[in-house]
């Protein structure tokens, strides 16, 4: 693609344009967390115009959904936002379950809440680590990855996988929760709040951190709503919006937690919002762990959910269902749904269209990173080039989530 910005220059900018230069940042720039390319027109150190260029990680996942049976397609959702795989599993499973009209038993729902909040912690920890490293605070990375490692081990204990867990399946969970999971979770959640204090000790009152983040990356709330920004960025601008509260799913309405907001609307307040979200997630995990209801961990729906191993070996009917589901998949009634959940990055929506067959007719993902990135030019134009990294870092995008 030619390095050329669209020419819609205002007449008064003509003077500046003549002595400006175009700087290409990315797609292999380490601070763009993937393959984001920013074309920036500079006047000295001031950015006159910025144009994001995405699509380097486009893998055609939406097309792939159309040729995979519903249950197999769960594995694709992991790979959309690879830092929050379980949130994506959840959004997709909820959408298909809504089409099927499936009732999910309480234990599976609470397990889903607990693990989705672990995913939020995982994602926010990676965000904090890399965001701090971008701005120059090296040691925060080591602290954050210590806890993240423990979370990945918990995922491994549940699903056998560290990152691409695919642990939520249509109708419940993929496997029975492992024995002794609550000791492991309890051990983690007992120390975690003190670990958040450690990060805050390193950053919250750190003058360099404050100097690099306060008053940077400001963008008005009206602009953000108009440009499709969601999630912690809106909450850092004072809008109390969270799909877990406004459109509760998976029994989130039964949990007691706060939605943190700030009003400063800069990079620093987005940091404070996310740190507080980590504390709230820890609260939710503790409630889910303490109040985990007994009972089945998958729905009672033999057409959709695989039978127990034991039943399969002893009962003819279960064996037939198993064979049918594995070889043919299951049919989903005709219709369309748009299921929204609150992913760590913002509003994640799954639009699933079914034509009554075993494969989805169309799946569209409304991913938060795509919407958030669209506001980049509005955020960085007119500011210093040195603040671009802090600004885009505070958006917390994942390019897999953007390009799909």
């Amino acid at each position: 693609m030619p390095v050329e910005l669209e020419n819609e220059a205002q007449p008064q900018q003509e003077q500046a344009r003549r002595r400006s230069m175009v700087l290409n940042m990315g797609p292999q720039h380490p601070s763009t967390h993937g393959v984001l390319r920013l074309l920036m027109e500079l006047d000295g150190e001031i950015i006159v115009k910025c144009q994001p260029d995405i699509g380097y990680l486009h893998t055609g996942i939406e097309k792939e959904f159309e040729v995979k049976p519903y249950q197999q397609a769960v594995t694709l959702t992991d790979r959309v936002d690879y830092l929050a795989p379980l949130s994506n599993n959840l959004g997709y499973c909820l959408a298909v379950e809504k089409l099927l009209g499936l009732e999910i038993p309480p234990q599976a729902q609470w397990m889903r809440v607990m693990l989705t909040e672990f995913t939020r912690l995982n994602s926010h920890l990676v965000w904090l680590a890399t965001h701090a490293i971008d701005i120059g605070a090296m040691s925060v990375f080591l602290y954050c990855f210590r806890e993240r490692e423990e979370i990945l081990r918990i995922f491994e204990m549940f699903s056998g996988q560290r990152m691409m867990t695919s642990y939520f399946r249509i109708g419940g969970l993929a496997l029975e929760p492992p024995r002794g999971w609550n000791q492991r979770v309890k051990k983690f959640i007992d120390v975690f709040p003190s670990r958040v204090d450690e990060y805050e000790n390193l950053l919250t009152n750190n003058p360099i951190w404050i100097g690099r983040t306060q008053g940077i990356g400001v963008i008005s709330l009206e602009d953000m709503l108009d440009l499709g920004v969601t999630g912690p960025m809106l909450r850092a601008a004072g809008l109390k919006i969270d799909a877990r509260k406004s459109e509760p799913y998976t029994s989130y309405e039964k949990f007691d937690f706060e939605v943190p907001t700030r009003t400063e609307n800069d990079v620093y307040s987005r940091y404070l919002v996310r740190v507080e979200e980590m504390r709230q997630s820890a609260r939710i995990i503790r409630q889910a762990m303490d109040g985990m209801p007994p009972g089945p961990w998958k729905a009672d729906s033999p057409h959709v959910v695989l039978p127990d191993r034991e039943k399969m070996k002893t009962q003819m009917e279960a064996l037939i269902y198993h064979f049918k589901i594995v070889t043919e998949g299951f049919r989903v009634p005709e219709g369309e749904v748009f299921q929204v959940i609150e992913s760590p990055r913002g509003e994640l929506g799954y639009y699933v269209v079914s034509d009554g067959t075993k494969m989805a007719y169309r799946v569209h993902m409304r991913t938060p990173s795509f919407g958030n990135l669209q506001a980049t030019p509005r955020m960085v134009e007119g500011t210093l080039i040195a603040d671009v990294i802090a600004g885009i870092g505070s958006m917390d995008f994942v390019l897999g989530d953007t390009d799909r």
């Binding site: 097309k63 499709g228 219709g335 929506g349 639009y351 007719y361 409304r366 919407g371």
Partner: protein, 163 residues
């Protein structure tokens, strides 16, 4: 005219939106359904910008969540352009749908109403080949500039051919 199946809807909930759109422009809604707690209104394509403007400024649908397409090949009208709207104030979501012919799928862009439509419409153009007129920058966004074809169309192959 408001379709018969939407007449009895609860007027305090999403039903009020359907009635308001009908009162705004009686010819705008061509069909609609209320299924699994989600309201879908099918809008006549030439009316989309005026209806969206009405929904944003009069009915508080300040957010455009996403724009995408569905290909009904080989049926006609082949394409559906699907808009998902969100009102924070009313805590409601609404789906608008426009059906476009396969031969020349063209619809007016809603970027004048919500700026967020910019990239979503570019994506729909890129992957479905639906053109949005009055769009400020209608270029491919996912695929390379010199790519042939539109991958999410149903007649586009899922795997490549061997060279």
């Amino acid at each position: 005219m408001l379709p018969e199946n939407l007449r009895g809807l609860d007027v305090t909930g999403v039903g009020a939106v359907a009635a308001a759109v009908e009162a705004f422009d009686a010819d705008a809604i061509t069909a609609g359904k209320f299924d699994r707690n989600e309201l879908t209104l099918e809008i006549a394509p030439p009316k989309i910008v005026s209806v969206c403007g009405f929904l944003k400024y009069d009915q508080s649908f300040v957010r455009l969540s996403t724009v995408t397409g569905v290909d009904r090949y080989p049926a006609e009208p082949r394409f559906e352009v699907v808009y998902h709207l969100h009102s924070i104030e009313r805590n409601q979501r609404l789906r608008l749908k426009c059906r476009l012919p396969g031969a020349d799928p063209v619809i007016e862009s809603v970027t004048s109403v919500w700026r967020s439509a910019n990239w979503y419409e570019r994506e729909t153009f890129d992957l479905f080949g639906i053109r949005f007129i009055n769009h400020p920058n209608l270029r491919r966004i996912m695929m390379p500039e010199d790519w042939d074809g539109h991958p999410l169309r149903k007649d586009y192959p899922i795997t490549g051919s061997r060279i």
